[in-house]
């Protein structure tokens, strides 16, 4: 079973550090100051802290089994990797038509308005743990096998 990130909303403080670490992780420089101040195109976070006081939790691509974004994608940029179970996005193929955003039930696909493409969680491929999980100060995000 594919590992997914899941939130423990009762311990999420809504601090937003997951977004910061995600942004840095997906920057070219991997440097927080450059990522936020000078890098172009501006790196964007693929995780979003959703808030509805007093509730808060982070959400990112769920890597759905039958991913509606993959079916709907007009350009073939959004793919389901059968081996890893990941939903992958190829920014070079993406035309920024926003169709995936229209069909993602979770609101987990971000608009990169500068690059006219979308961006979403890739579970930080190549790292032991996604940056949002590794750096959550309250351990409100866990990376584990969950039913899709």
């Amino acid at each position: 079973m594919v590992k997914r990130i899941i939130a423990k909303q009762e311990v999420c403080m809504g601090c937003g550090l997951c977004e910061v670490y995600c942004t840095v992780q997906h920057s070219k420089s991997k440097d927080i100051v450059k990522a936020y101040n000078s890098e172009r195109p501006k790196p964007i976070s693929r995780v979003k802290v959703e808030r509805n006081k007093p509730v808060s939790f982070a959400i990112q691509c769920r890597h759905c089994e039958d991913a509606p974004c993959v079916t709907a994608c007009l350009s073939g940029a959004m793919q389901k990797d059968e081996k890893t179970g990941l939903v992958t996005h190829d920014a070079k193929k993406c035309i920024g038509c926003w169709t995936c955003i229209m069909v993602c039930p979770y609101g987990a696909i971000m608009m990169d308005k500068e690059d006219h493409v979308v961006a979403k969680c890739d579970l930080c491929q190549g790292f032991d743990e996604p940056a949002c999980v590794a750096n959550c100060p309250n351990e409100a995000l866990v990376f584990k096998e969950v039913k899709p």
Partner: protein, 426 residues
């Protein structure tokens, strides 16, 4: 004998191939298309004209898609007849290809109204990659400076943007009083129209083209159009982008039942067993209207093809339905339209609106008995998918109605039970 024969190699055909292969890795598949280029994205042909996408980029599958899926692809071949008694399709050279299961995924064909002069050199339709290639080549060939686009729906707007990017002077002519009238209400339409005008497109509404006239000295070539009220608009090219109608000629005279398109059940099977239809040629289920109708939209065509493919391969699958769903990115203004845009007078409908003219922001929700039945988002579309989820699953939104149009509306507003059920939280 091919176990599966698929006529058409666009969205529905591709979805079917992928679904069949998920269920049946070995059964022989033959795909037949009369186009010379296959597995490309039709919604991207405007990108091809504008130069933003080359042939490689418009390919929406892998280069070796047919090979990888072990498909016998007959490209550039036309199916001319369907013989249901023999269970075979016939190609133009007389060759017969028998099938166990057939999918008709022939798509839509452009609707071209009767107009004087529509046979002139320089009149184009805009459905296939070939249409786009011919148009792009013509622009270069005659060094075209101006174009009239007939129809200001999704396709018309996409081609208008592409032509503008190519440096042409563009006039859009729309018979309805408003552009994008199938997708937007008058207010939403006005916002988008103002943006398109500002970009430099001349828009004429409430009129149609009655006649395409020739160039002085070259009557056979497009020189302009005459509108229904008599005005004349000079141009080098005309693109007809009014819409598509189901391309269902193949089943004419057979026992496959049709209405406007091919009639299918919720397994995408036609009135004839073992014969399926999907995509723009079919009348699939609209879950909002609770009836079948043609909905010529790429994402739905892929989905319908997947459902047909599963059923053809023996995995019983039901199509849960689609509805009007369009996402536009043209002229730099994101727009999403879902479900009903212009409802008939109905006192039981509730309308929620957020409008900020300074930012071209417009959000509108139409509710019936606390269930979302229509959604328009202009310039703020990030939450569209969540709202579509509520619409598609007919979820009662009473408890969080006032939050629906907020920019930060999210799953945090949903009951914990639903969050857990969907594995959003632990």
């Amino acid at each position: 004998m091919a176990k599966y024969v698929i006529v058409g190699a666009s969205a529905a055909g591709l979805g079917a191939v992928e679904a069949i292969r998920d269920v049946d890795p070995l059964g022989t598949i033959t795909v037949i298309t009369d186009e010379t280029c296959s597995h490309y994205s039709r919604p991207m042909i405007s990108e091809f004209v504008s130069g933003q996408a080359d042939l490689k980029k418009v390919d929406c599958r892998t280069e070796d898609f047919w090979k990888e899926n072990n498909v016998d692809a007959l490209i550039g071949r036309k199916v001319t007849a369907l013989n249901l008694d023999e269970k075979a399709v016939q190609l133009e050279n007389g060759e017969k290809i028998p099938f166990e299961k057939l999918l008709i995924a022939t798509g839509g064909k452009p609707f071209v109204p009767k107009m004087d002069g529509s046979d002139k050199d320089g009149v184009f339709t805009f459905t296939t990659l070939k249409d786009a290639q011919l148009l792009a080549a013509k622009i270069d060939c005659i060094n075209a400076k101006s174009a009239v686009v007939i129809g200001a729906g999704l396709i018309g707007v996409s081609v208008a943007e592409a032509l503008l990017k190519r440096g042409l002077k563009v006039t859009m002519v729309e018979l309805q009083d408003k552009i994008l009238s199938l997708l937007l209400d008058p207010k939403g339409s006005d916002i988008v129209e103002a943006i398109i005008r500002k970009a430099g497109v001349n828009i004429i509404t409430g009129q149609s083209v009655q006649k395409i006239i020739g160039k002085p000295g070259d009557e056979g070539a497009v020189g302009g159009v005459i509108l229904t009220k008599g005005d004349q608009v000079p141009c080098d090219l005309v693109v007809v982008a009014i819409g598509v109608v189901p391309r269902s000629e193949l089943v004419a005279g057979t026992s496959v039942k049709t209405n406007r398109g091919i009639i299918v059940d919720n397994m995408m099977q036609t009135s004839v067993p073992d014969v399926y239809a999907s995509g723009d040629v079919a009348e699939a289920y609209d879950f909002l209207l609770n009836q079948n109708r043609p909905l010529p939209l790429w994402p739905l065509a892929v989905l319908e093809g997947q459902v047909a493919g599963c059923n053809m391969a023996g995995k019983k699958t039901t199509y849960s339905g689609g509805t009007n769903m369009s996402s536009l990115k043209y002229f730099g203004i994101p727009v999403v339209s879902l479900g009903i845009a212009n409802p008939k007078e109905d006192s039981t409908l509730e309308v929620l609106v957020k409008f900020d003219p300074d930012h071209n922001l417009y959000k509108k929700l139409i509710l019936k008995n606390n269930i979302i039945v229509g959604l328009t988002l202009v310039n703020s579309i990030e939450r569209a998918g969540i709202l579509y989820y509520l619409m598609k699953n007919a979820i009662n939104v009473k408890k969080f109605k006032q939050q629906l149009l907020e920019d930060d509306f999210s799953w945090a507003a949903f009951p914990v039970s639903l969050q857990r059920k969907m594995s959003v939280v632990q």
